[in-house]
Symmetry: C2
Subunit: 200 residues, 2 copies
């Protein structure tokens, strides 16, 4: 057995991530397993361990790609806006639409527990931080009298809030039905928060 060399390391990595994303999207996180991913790309489980450290590593890399796509969409949403207030609302809308379009892939990012003792690697944390930095940048012109640390804190509070509404709604814990209601909640949070934050 063995030595097929049909694909380079990098190709196998790409195929595996592609297959993993499809599996999660279509059947949810519960259906995800190393054997299924391997089977889907025509290799054995062992091969996955030549390319990834372990299953957590594979999931992390898959989640990184999802975060990259989200970040891309958020960047795109911002440049289509004429003012900062509109941009902030559009960022929230984009965030929720993205989660709603592929809830399984989304849950994979924020529902995935890093193993006890292990901590999320730096490069992944930065992909999350990048999102908050984007929110900060948009909030800056809205509260010119606030200091940089104040704006950083506000961006975290507000975006944590948008995220919370999103995650509770997607997991059926908010008692609201339909994406539009979730969008309304988030817009309400952003608008009212801004009211308080920019005044005074």
């Amino acid at each position: 057995m063995a030595r097929r060399n049909d694909h380079s390391r990098e190709e196998i990595r790409e195929m595996a991530l592609e297959a993993a994303e499809q599996l999660v999207s279509e059947q949810g996180p519960g259906a995800f397993s190393a054997r299924k991913v391997a089977g889907a790309i025509g290799y054995t489980v062992g091969t996955l361990y030549l390319v990834f450290d372990n299953l957590d590593d594979l999931i992390l890399q898959m989640n990184a790609r999802t975060l990259d796509r989200l970040h891309g969409r958020m960047l795109q949403a911002r440049i289509q806006c004429r003012n900062s207030r509109e941009a902030l609302l559009r960022l929230g809308e984009t965030y929720i639409r993205f989660a709603d379009e592929d809830p399984h892939r989304w849950e994979m990012i924020f529902g995935h527990r890093t193993a006890e003792g292990e901590k999320t690697p730096e490069w992944f944390q930065q992909k999350v931080a990048r999102m908050f930095a984007l929110v900060e940048a948009v909030m800056q012109p809205l509260a010119k009298r606030r200091s940089a640390p104040e704006i950083a804190q506000a961006a975290r509070a507000l975006w944590g809030g948008v995220h919370g509404i999103c995650i509770l709604a997607l997991t059926d814990k908010l008692g609201v039905a339909g994406v539009q209601s979730v969008q309304d909640l988030a817009q309400s949070l952003i608008n009212n928060y801004l009211e308080g934050f920019t005044r005074q």
Copy 2:
């Protein structure tokens, strides 16, 4: 083998839930398994299936008890306050302190994914709804000019927000260190939101 009758059904249920809670508290959700819970109470795995439908059922019942304790704490926090604004801030503080004191048990509630196709049972959803009802009740006197549906929506937006800050911070995604920073973020969210919501 078999027929010990040392404990009634109800006693086994109680022991199992107790053991499950301890296991999760001390070793995290990853260490949790039916065999470990059974072992901890001196019974076999099979016995658990005489008392619970399946592992999801056990987890749900454990989470229900956690939610009951949280609700109790929140009720207690409210009656110690002189006005509604203070009560709302104390509710947020209580929520976050509770999560921080036992993060694993907390994550079990909101990180637990109901199996694909299955949906969370009604009786559990109501325990979550009860929490939002409490927030609503506290917000009511703060915005007398708002309609009941408006207040219901505001409670969900605001508490979804507090939850989001809490969950992101606990899973190290907010880039903040220490409980106090999380508390600060939540208080900032509540204060600024209220500012916008109660004005006008």
